[in-house]
Symmetry: C2
Subunit: 258 residues, 2 copies
DNA sequence: GCAACTTTGTGCGTGCGTTCACAAGCGGCT
DNA sequence: AGCCGCTTGTGAACGCACGCACAAAGTTGC
């Protein structure tokens, strides 16, 4: 890249770099970050791209390129120093500030989400719960009071909520989404099997489990075309690594082309 | 493509077609299917690609191309007949047979999943539940007995389980995964934040909520680089459609390039 | 039956993401 | 100090996916 003459200082370069990180890489960076955290706990001080790639199931070259997007400080001949790299990843992913999360819909799934410690532990404290069910509004879950959805605009603003999670039934999701958006929430994670309509400056990520299962089912079907009679698999020791940070973690297809 | 001389008959073509459907398209096909189901309930008999595209937030041309992969029967000048298209999609996605699902780990999240009716309703009956916790083994959830994980190989085979869902803590996930694989399960959906090692003929899809949140957080950070002071959003009427079947449902970036 | 309109199906250019392969850089060893 | 081996960072090729734009094919209206 031949360092642009003036860009010696850090801040400037970072901004430019952040803008240009490919979506797909961002997802993997999050995966690297978590894996590095584990390695760090196990006492590792440096990791080579090959090692980290093996653990995360990613191609080593791709991993290095991903890291290069955040202006990584790897040491040639050695690898990456775990601690600084973790710090750099957190910085680049915007994890230096905690992001308050509001969860709307405290039913079956919502309860599980509200009670999950993993969010707070990773810098995403669930600071507000909402529902319409009078039996739920007023109770506490994990120490957090469930409030009525009509309070979303006020409370979300008060608590500086930046991320909304929607776990309501599908039909209610759009209305809830609108409320969140009107409260200034620009990032939404939804579990409702509905396509949400949002303004252009809001980002939505959808977790659709039924679709996930259907994708798997498709692969079952594809497989059965080849081996119609097979019902039970064989034993096995591990064989192939697998991962990739987006959830499209394919891996079968024994190398057949066209 | 120039039709291979002999491939006049249907069955053959289907196999060839199935093999070659791009992963990304499969995800969207599942989305179309669900949306068509809703349209069908509302009495629609035909849909144009433009209509369906608008509802699902997908580019119309892309949608038509997706449908062409399954050898669609659209009518030029009219659109697609909803009923036959639904049928065709179900066939192509392998939804003509119900796929038995086994769920391992019936804790917070597992309970919600086990109690969810949406899976059975879409052809994915949860037919087996497993856990190690003696307080859980033996109880019924939604009418299904929770069994000990050591029974996985036997019971999964007995009940013809084709899909495994893992909702155990991370550290237990790999062992559980191995058990499922040894029981012949070739498709796994996991919620554990761990990269699973599996043989090459097993497909894993990972739903990693922490990663989802981090991706959203990244976009918050990116945004704040531009508008450092903004805390509360503005009002708005809907603006842009949004969807796409993989959960990477981006949509911001008001058209800026480079 | 013909013309005008509508919508599908797809060929093709473009851009993104992945992967290979290698030069540049760094540490350790002699 | 200089060489050797290892690992990073990236240039460049490849392949896939997206989306435009248009021809083919059907329908409606006259
Ligand atoms: N439970 C699962 O495992 C699971 C799996 C996949 C998808 N989902 C999806 O997640 C969503 C929630 O599933 P669930 O099983 O928790 O459903 P649920 O019915 O148990 O819970 C929904 C909750 O949303 C609340 N609600 C309804 N309308 C609301 C509104 N307008 N504003 C705020 N809250 C409202 C209800 O009072 C209820 O508490 C659904 O869209 C479902 O399709 C759930
Ligand atoms: N709860 C959530 O909302 C949520 C959100 C994101 C991710 N997750 C992930 O989903 C997984 C489950 O989360 P949870 O909140 O339900 O945890 P949990 O601790 O409530 O439940 C885990 C269950 O797995 C069982 N288990 C433990 N070891 C097992 C083994 N070897 N075999 C079979 N079962 C075993 C436990 O007995 C327990 O019932 C975790 O990996 C978590 O990181 C959960």
């Amino acid at each position: 890249m031949t360092v642009p003459p003036e860009a010696e200082r850090e801040g400037v370069g970072d901004v430019a770099r952040l803008r240009s990180i490919p979506e797909a890489s961002v997802a993997r960076l999050a995966l690297y970050l978590r894996t590095l955290g584990e390695l760090s706990e196990q006492g590792a001080e440096t990791v080579s791209s090959d090692e980290l790639a093996a653990v995360t199931g990613v191609n080593p070259a791709k991993l290095r390129k991903d890291l290069s997007f955040i202006g990584s400080y790897g040491i040639r001949g050695v690898g990456y120093e775990v601690r600084p790299l973790v710090h750099q990843l957190e910085q680049s992913l915007g994890l230096n500030h905690r992001q308050a999360v509001a969860l709307v819909g405290v039913g079956n799934l919502g309860h599980a989400l509200a009670g999950y410690g993993g969010f707070d532990g990773r810098g995403f404290p669930v600071t507000a719960l909402f529902d319409v069910d009078p039996d739920l509004v007023g109770i506490h879950i994990n120490g957090i009071l469930v409030e009525h959805v009509r309070e979303i605009p006020r409370i979300a603003a008060e608590r500086g909520v930046t991320i909304g999670m929607i776990a309501t039934p599908g039909p209610a999701a759009q209305a809830v989404c609108d409320l969140l958006v009107s409260a200034g929430v620009q990032c939404i994670l939804t579990f409702a099997p509905v396509v949400l309509q949002v303004p252009a400056d809001v980002e939505v990520r959808k977790v659709d489990l039924a679709v996930e299962l259907q994708i798997l089912a498709f692969h079952v079907a594809r497989r059965n075309l080849d081996h119609p009679g097979v019902t039970t698999g064989t034993t096995n020791g591990h064989a192939l690594v697998n991962g990739a940070a987006d959830n499209r973690t394919v891996n079968g297809s024994g190398g057949i082309h066209s």
